[in-house]
């Protein structure tokens, strides 16, 4: 019988150790998501029922936080005019990693009811990486809660890596931003 006392100890390789730490980290991150209270457009009206007693998102561990440095999730709720897109890009770059973006409403998917307007962008995914969408105009509050649970599942399956995509394809994202906006951090606010 082979003695178990002297069998070689299997050392986990560095990637496996990293992955185990990352999995533990993902457990913490998906059970305690903090969203940035940045209500861009009309879909933001669906957030108060999700936050309060009707559909309580605190039981999922989510809660609102005031500044981008402290938040994990950026909820882009609604249409994005060019002015707002500049601030969204600036805010997204100020968040600390790992960070996730959820697009609310149809306007972030394909422009929604403002798809033929000259001042609104059509596809949010070209400018900042989006992890999941919640479709609807506007989505039902139960759909919003479903969207959050979908995001938590994505984090569990390690598919929510928008922030890695942003770092790797940074040149492509920047080119899209500069094409539409000309200048992201404007110097002259009143003539942008």
């Amino acid at each position: 019988m082979k003695s178990t006392r002297f069998s070689p100890v299997t050392n986990l390789s560095k990637e496996e150790v990293d992955r185990k730490w990352w999995e533990i980290g993902d457990f913490f991150r998906r059970n305690s998501l903090w969203m940035l209270m940045y209500c861009t457009g009309c879909c933001a009206i669906e957030l108060p029922p999700a936050m309060t007693s009707a559909y309580d998102m605190e039981r999922l561990g989510m809660g609102p936080m005031a500044t981008p440095r402290q938040a994990d999730v950026l909820l882009v709720t609604g249409y994005l005019s060019l002015k707002t897109l500049r601030r969204i890009v600036y805010t997204y770059e100020q968040m600390s990693e790992p960070k996730y973006v959820v697009g609310f409403g149809s306007c972030t998917i394909n422009g929604g009811i403002y798809h033929d307007s000259h001042a609104v962008i059509n596809q949010l995914d070209q400018y900042i990486p989006v992890d999941s969408y919640v479709a609807g105009c506007m989505p039902n509050t139960e759909a919003v809660m479903n969207g959050f649970i979908d995001l938590m599942d994505l984090i569990k399956n390690k598919k929510a890596d928008g922030w890695k995509r942003y770092k790797e394809n940074n040149a492509w994202y920047k080119k899209n931003q500069l094409d539409s906006l000309v200048e992201v951090n404007v110097h002259d606010e009143f003539h942008e």
Binding site: F28, R29, N31, W34, D56, E58, T67, E97
Partner: protein, 299 residues
């Protein structure tokens, strides 16, 4: 001795974090919703510790380390029950008040070092609130120290236990108990004295530029600070604890009642905080001190 102190600090952190989660659940049930899990605060802190944040220079990091270090040092001195004291005889009341100030100074330094004016405004409000709630509290503690002839926390707790059942200072000095409870609300930073955090007005005040591990360490600091302050109230007014179980029960009662009281209030403006404490609470404290010391009427 030192190891016992570190264990007390760590145990206090675990206790308060669980209590925080349980209290969030209580408040949620009051509001007819479900509320988070009881270990939600642990998840929050560990999530923060696992993120990669930004830093604005050496003073930003150094202040956070100094803040957390000062609070851990303070927690090491705190007696938990009659038998669990890390440094018997040296747990003077003033050490707690001033070592908490070291923690606050460290946090204020690093908040201002981030370069955001909102952080400086938040620190200004925190210091002004501290000026408001400390003076009445200290007057009441002066009365207690004179009546129990010692300023060591465990000695004060023992003198209350020696007088028989329910010989607590909260019953002997009722006005003092009210004053100390309202000062406790100020110390914990709960509504209506939550002006220095002010999430939407000041973008959470001093914590505006923190993310990741610095914010996680500040949360740990806040939990341990709450533990120290509620335990201070338990020892000074509720007679300490003979063993660990009674301490847990008293701690939970104080913290839950404080939470429930603060939940129904809005937020004061900062000059309303100062005027409130100096117009209503300080005269009450003076009346209590005069009654107890100069006239000698103690229940």
């Amino acid at each position: 001795m030192i190891l016992l102190g570190v264990l007390v600090a760590f145990g206090g952190f675990v206790l308060q974090t669980s209590m925080g989660g349980v209290n969030r659940k209580i408040i949620a049930r009051l509001q007819k919703r479900y509320g988070p899990k009881w270990y939600q605060e642990f998840l929050d802190i560990f999530k923060l510790l696992s993120k990669r944040a930004t830093s604005h220079g050496w003073i930003f990091d150094f202040g956070v380390i100094m803040a957390l270090g000062g609070i851990i040092a303070t927690a090491m001195f705190m007696p938990v029950s009659n038998n669990i004291i890390a440094f018997p005889g040296y747990d003077n009341f003033f050490i707690f008040v001033y070592l908490i100030a070291v923690g606050m100074l460290g946090m204020a330094m690093s908040a201002s070092g981030s370069g955001n004016p909102l952080a400086s405004i938040g620190v200004m409000r925190a210091l002004t609130t501290m000026l408001a709630y400390e003076v009445p509290f200290m007057v009441i503690v002066l009365t207690i120290i004179k009546l129990s002839k010692s300023s060591s926390l465990s000695a004060i707790a023992l003198s209350q236990q020696a007088g028989g059942d329910f010989n607590w200072f909260i019953i002997a000095l009722p006005l003092g108990g009210v004053v100390a409870f309202i000062s406790l609300l100020g110390m914990l930073g709960k509504k209506p004295f939550e002006t220095y955090i002010a999430p939407a007005e000041l973008a959470s005040g001093p914590m505006v530029e923190y993310g990741g591990k610095q914010l996680g360490m500040l949360f740990i600091m806040h939990e341990i600070t709450v533990f120290i302050e509620v335990a201070l109230f338990v020892h000074l007014f509720l007679g300490g604890a003979e063993n660990l179980l009674i301490f847990l029960v008293k701690y939970f009662l104080v913290y839950a009642i404080a939470n429930l009281v603060s939940n129904v209030f809005g937020r004061f403006k900062i000059d309303q905080v100062v005027v409130f404490f100096y117009k209503w609470i300080l005269p009450l404290a003076i009346i209590q001190a005069v009654i107890a010391l100069y006239l000698g009427w103690v229940i």
